[in-house]
Symmetry: C2
Subunit: 210 residues, 2 copies
DNA sequence: GTCTATATACGGATAGAC
DNA sequence: GTCTATCCGTATATAGAC
């Protein structure tokens, strides 16, 4: 934003246009099926310009993910306050996020992570360090249970995203946020703070071994 | 299996070897990233043979999905009996299926459906006509609620599969089936037969419009 | 800073020999 | 039935002119 000395990194508008087009394309078709040519065409620039700005397709992808994917203090704000309302607040905020530019980046990362290992690692690390860890810090209860509780909640939320934004199966794909909050909120609430009878009292330790 | 008159369709063993290799490859990397050359190499045959047997890459994919993906009367058997145990029985059977050849085909279809529209349609139709519809026929309660109830249950199960077999996020990825049944069973139970307060009593109809 | 031309590589599909 | 050789399209990436 602020002017700096040294070499101009090219027209900022052009750069931003490319990033937006790339984000949309990656979200739509995933990494592999997205061609730099199509991104360039969609942004109204020459394909060579994309290389000029970002160097490679991988770097373009990472740049497109960078800005929007930053939960920052959103998660803590959701978790603070009445512990009994965490589930519904989380689902509501979650649905809101997925309808923003961050959601576009999220779909892109998800679509890519399913087929590409380095993207899967990126998604895992994002979930663990940016989301689950923050949740863990703000929840009461046995510390040792939190990883499983967190990933159970994540599994439900991930399934919701898959149904609504990726596979698009009705009627979940078109349900109102209120209906989904009422339906899924209690599930997330139970996973995070509720009574999970029979899950943790396994003889050899339910979490280990498969 | 049984001998038939007419043209021999080639060595059955070779054909089956190709299908198995293809299923594994598609499950591992999805449709696009899987090359016919690699499938052939993995099956120990010439790439041209694959074309000879299956005609095209698409037809190879469909052939690899055909056999294993057939819920048949598995679903009805799960749903029959005590309605209060449906959730746990469903999750238990579900986890069992995903560790079989059918599971390999399932992962392949899922990985592909995320990026390729015709595969997404295939997955949707499979879920609706082969799974959800059968569930609908064997459940009590308001008929009009069943589509949403079914797709909510599907969202949780899909999320579980994503976590365990695709993204592989711990500790869900390595949790024991028992622990997952205890954790997720009640969720599915509630979606299918439980009290979903606030979900269906929406003024304009919670299912429509978004 | 922007675009043309091209190097390089890969994968699906086919023709045809054996 | 099986394999060799190859056509053809497409995509990333780079070199270099303007």
């Amino acid at each position: 934003m602020t002017r700096r000395t040294g070499r101009r990194p090219g027209n900022p508008d052009t750069r931003e246009a490319i990033l937006t087009a790339a984000r949309a394309a990656f979200a739509d078709r995933g990494f592999d099926a997205t061609t730099i040519r199509s991104v360039a065409a969609s942004a109204g620039v020459d394909p060579a310009l994309v290389h000029h700005y970002f160097g490679s397709k991988d770097k373009l992808f990472l740049a497109a993910m960078q800005a929007p994917l930053d939960p920052g203090e959103l998660v803590p704000r959701i978790l603070a306050g009445d512990p009994e309302g965490v589930g519904e607040r989380l689902v509501r905020a979650f649905l809101g996020v997925w309808d923003s530019p961050a959601g576009t980046a999220g779909v892109a990362l998800l679509r890519t992570a399913v087929t590409t290992e380095w993207a899967a690692r990126l998604l895992r690390e994002f979930l663990v360090t940016q989301v689950l860890r923050r949740i863990q810090e703000h929840l009461p209860g046995d510390r040792r249970q939190l990883p499983l509780r967190g990933s159970l909640a994540a599994s439900q939320l991930l399934g919701l995203v898959m149904m609504r934004y990726v596979i698009r199966l009705e009627p979940v794909a078109s349900a109102t946020p209120q209906a989904l909050v009422a339906a899924v909120g209690p599930t997330v609430q139970r996973y995070l703070t509720g009574d999970l009878a029979g899950v943790f009292d396994d003889p050899a330790g339910a979490v280990a071994h498969r």
